[in-house]
């Protein structure tokens, strides 16, 4: 078990390494001079030279990358061009909001999605199956930012149940989390349904029934445990999608998360902030998938060997 976890962790390192290279190169991919891009066309030549010097952009690429990597590992992500504050400080406060949204959204999506998928599979081709699959289809097709607006319209403007702006209490999180998570409900429900249908037809299900297992045990222990194996993978992937997609939701609900920080940075060409936010989100995503991989080995004993 320990050996498996260590191998998985080691296998993630090259990916993180390559991600950091890509994020580092982002600035160099931009057509034109990165310093002029950062400071704007009207910048003084002396200021350009000074910035180039300060950022080390006049040195060879591999040396630039080495210092970039060392700085990251030291927790130094550079300085925001717009606010002149260290980027790490900007991110630290905002990361929390996005993380809460993504975790909340994944939880909502997995609980509702798995339940819907199980009901659908048990009632295959009957009313509830068809009904839930229509709901799933609607959920995967509706853009989260559109759903957010509808939720605000209904639950905030008309019913007045939940606030629509800011993050001051748990009630502020309800609508954003649902808006963010809903799109994944359908995906997980469909995945769970087909995985359940597949496992319910396996020989070991007949064995379990022939042992005298009650219906509940057959479905929720024997079948679900096997069906969760493919669903778990999707959960990890969805989490990353939600973390990146939370930018849209943060925009609608005026939540000061890392997603909005990233969008603002893109719109103002604040490259150190762009690099840092992209790096943060993708590293979180890779780490979450690592955790899912390890969970996987707990659910499916065959993986460990």
């Amino acid at each position: 078990m320990l050996k498996f976890i260590i191998t998985r962790i080691i296998s993630v390192i090259p990916i993180l390494f390559l991600v950091s290279i890509l994020v580092f190169l982002m600035v160099h991919f931009i057509p034109g001079d990165p310093v002029i891009n950062m400071l704007g066309m009207e910048a003084q030549p002396e200021a350009i030279e000074a910035t180039r010097e300060r950022l080390g952009l006049n040195k060879p690429l591999h040396i630039q990358y080495t210092s970039f990597l060392i700085n990251i590992l030291k927790g130094d992500l550079g300085t925001s061009i717009r606010t002149k504050k260290p980027v790490i400080q900007e991110i630290k406060d905002k990361y929390r909001y996005s993380l809460i949204l993504a975790i909340g959204g994944t939880l909502v999506a997995s609980v509702l999605g798995v339940l819907m998928g199980i009901v659908s599979a048990i009632k295959q081709n009957k009313f509830w199956d068809n009904f839930l699959m229509v709901i799933s289809l609607l959920s995967v097709s509706t853009p989260s930012f559109f759903l957010a607006l509808i939720l605000i319209l209904i639950f905030s403007l008309f019913l007045g149940w939940f606030p629509s702006i800011g993050v001051y209490s748990w009630r502020h999180y309800v609508l954003p989390i649902f808006a963010l998570g809903t799109q994944s409900i359908g995906l997980i429900a469909r995945m769970t349904r087909s995985a359940m249908l597949d496992t319910l037809n396996q020989d070991y299900i007949t064995t379990a029934k022939a042992k005298g297992a009650p219906w509940f045990q057959v479905v929720f222990s024997h079948a679900l445990r096997n069906a969760m194996i493919p669903v778990l993978t999707i959960l990890g992937l969805r989490f990353g999608g939600l973390l990146a997609g939370s930018a849209l939701i943060e925009m609608v609900f005026a939540i000061p998360g890392i997603g909005r920080l990233m969008i603002d940075a893109v719109l103002t060409r604040d490259y150190p902030v762009i690099q840092a936010t992209v790096l943060f989100i993708s590293v979180t995503f890779v780490m979450i998938n690592l955790i899912v991989d390890i969970l996987y080995s707990i659910v499916d004993p065959r993986v460990k060997c």
Binding site: D203, G212, A213, H222
Partner: protein
């Protein structure tokens, strides 16, 4: 109940599958009588309805595609077809249990061997984990698995096919059932492993009170294990009798065909005899005798009318016009 010590009596069992392409009469009028400690072999080609008969006895036919449409299954003093699902659960794995053809897929891959055997004790005897594990280890000893204490912590993928089939047998015998149904228990195994499993079943048969319904197409296994034989063809019982009579003096042309297709070492003929023709499509069954299309002794009446299941001497039965008097 007329026969002494009879524990299972099936009358005119019919199980159908309603598929898009049409209705399949998987089991179409089967009668079985089983005494305590008896071993009955059900023999036939694949698709003859052997396995469906066994699944019908446990009422494990997948509805709504499949359904038992007719008949009675008397187990001891009750008709199983009248029992509720809850009452059936008390019988499955406890009084009537079953082992399957594919040991590779019949065990749940994500649970330990111990848990899967323990479950039987949990459902039927309310045993907790520790007591269940102890009993599970005892059962594994009984079926000849070495290091049983260690084996209960293993997962199915860590065991070989033969070991897994032993686990299946241990699981099926856990509650000392009255009837064990073994559906092709050796077909998926290597030849050497096959004989080990047959030896195990023979040993267990001597020790336990269990009656066995052995489903197989392997007549060699039948000769070693069974006292009585029922031959099935296209969902119908076509011949029944004790194993000696069936092997030495078969009535039905299909039974003869089956016996002839066993290769013999000291055979004079240099070619293996096979039954000519193929099994008819289950959707387009012939009107009369289902075997008429392949039969060597076919008569005019065979294609027109279905023969009845006739009683013969010594409790033997046969469904064939050749042995029907007064036509």
């Amino acid at each position: 109940m007329n026969t002494p010590n009879e524990i299972l009596r099936i009358n005119d069992l019919k199980t159908k599958f309603f598929l898009e392409e049409g209705t399949v009469f998987a089991v179409d009028g089967v009668d079985i009588s089983l005494r305590e400690k008896e071993t009955l072999a059900i023999v036939g080609e694949s698709g003859s309805g052997k396995s469906v008969t066994a699944l019908s006895i446990l009422k494990l036919i997948q509805e709504p595609t499949g359904r038992i449409t007719d008949g009675e299954i008397h187990y001891r003093d009750r008709n199983l077809l009248d029992l509720s699902e809850k009452e059936m659960r008390k019988i499955r794995g406890n009084e009537i249990s079953m082992i399957f053809q594919e040991p590779m897929t019949s065990l749940n891959p994500v649970f330990t061997i111990g848990k899967q055997i323990r479950e039987v004790y949990k459902y039927h005897q309310g045993l907790n984990k520790r007591a269940g594990n102890r009993k599970a280890a005892e059962m594994l000893d009984l079926v000849g698995i070495p290091n049983s204490e260690k084996c209960i912590h293993n997962y199915p993928f860590q065991l070989s096919g033969g070991m897994r089939q032993r686990v299946m047998i241990a699981m099926a015998l856990a509650c000392n059932p009255r009837i064990l149904m073994a559906d092709e228990p050796t077909t998926a195994l290597d030849v050497t492993i096959q004989s080990q499993i047959i030896k195990l079943l023979m040993d267990l048969k001597k020790e336990m009170r269990t009656a066995i319904i052995l489903i197989t197409h392997d007549l060699g296994v039948v000769a070693q294990l069974a006292e009585n034989v029922m031959v099935m063809y296209m969902g119908k019982a076509v011949e029944y009798g004790d194993v000696k009579s069936i092997f030495h003096n078969p009535y039905h042309p299909y039974t003869k065909g089956l016996l002839n297709s066993i290769p013999q070492i000291n055979d004079d003929h240099d070619r293996l005899k096979i039954i000519k023709g193929i099994i008819p499509s289950p959707f387009k069954l012939p009107a009369g005798c289902k075997y008429a299309t392949r039969c060597d002794d076919v008569m005019d009446i065979c294609a027109k009318k279905e023969p009845a299941y006739q009683e013969k001497e010594n409790g033997r039965k046969v469904r064939c016009w050749k042995y029907t008097e007064g036509i």
